[in-house]
Amino acid sequence: MHIGSGFLSPPVWGAMTAVSGAALAVSLAAAGRRLDDRKVPLMGVMGAFVFAAQMVNFPVLAGTSGHLGGGFLLGVLLGPALGTIVMASVLVVQSLVFQDGGVEALGANIFVMGVLPCLMGGAVRGLWRRGGWAAYPTTFVGAAAGVLTGATIVILLLAWSGTLPATVTLAEAIGVMDFVHLFIGLVEGAVTVAVAAFVVRVRREAVFGQGLAAPLGEASA
């Protein structure tokens, strides 16, 4: 869902750069205050995982593919602030090193695939901390909803940039975009639930940190 080069008008990409820049500044300030040591390795590997997973385009419908976003997953496992920082890192590397996503569109892409789904994922973090079955359907629906919301925002940004042809209405454009992304969202939901469940099970201390004893046989450094 990376917006490429040349599709956003300067006012639109400027505004999105300001919004995502502010969100990142808040995230960095919040992270600086409560980052616990055990989280850093988890942040690193989740960033590497999301980068790798995004390379795996899966076919949806005829002649179309989709790939994982991963923002909702990072929101669940790292919280919205750290999730946004990691997702922004992934998107910056994708744009600057792999020409995936326009350089001027980075702010917009960070908002759509980072800030927004990370906040949504962060909202269901408590369900995973508590345990119980409710985390699964909520995460599935939430991650899919995150993809659809992001897809809708992308169309709005393109419309405000004057990039959509005059022959299609905004509603039609959103309809086409969201129809495809409904299917991508279902995969996003399923993968998010599976990976979140796995990581919470094997790395509960790193995911939820404070207040939990160190694993057996390890001194907390």
Binding site: I3, F7, F51, P59, Q94, E104, M177
Partner: protein, 104 residues
Amino acid sequence: MTAYDRRTLLVGLAAALVIGGAVSYFASAYPDGLEKTQEDLGAAETVHGTVAHPPSLFEEYSLAWLGEGFWGNAAAGILGALVVLVLVLALGRILRGVRRTDHC
């Protein structure tokens, strides 16, 4: 770094390298949802000025001098995942430093 952290890094990184370095070779080459939507709507032409991507060793997701085959893709997936890992670990280290000074 504790044994717990080392294991997190090893297992997580192994998964990322296998997915980015090998599984991704079998990815669908169809345009993604946004690209397809732009094509279908007749909105695939760039109309605004662009900021050029900086020079890179990679041409999209393949290492330029290995081409678009399995190994070019594998190099992109592996090196890309490592670049993200190192970048995020560096950021984490800086942020932890910030917190430590706050406490002093």
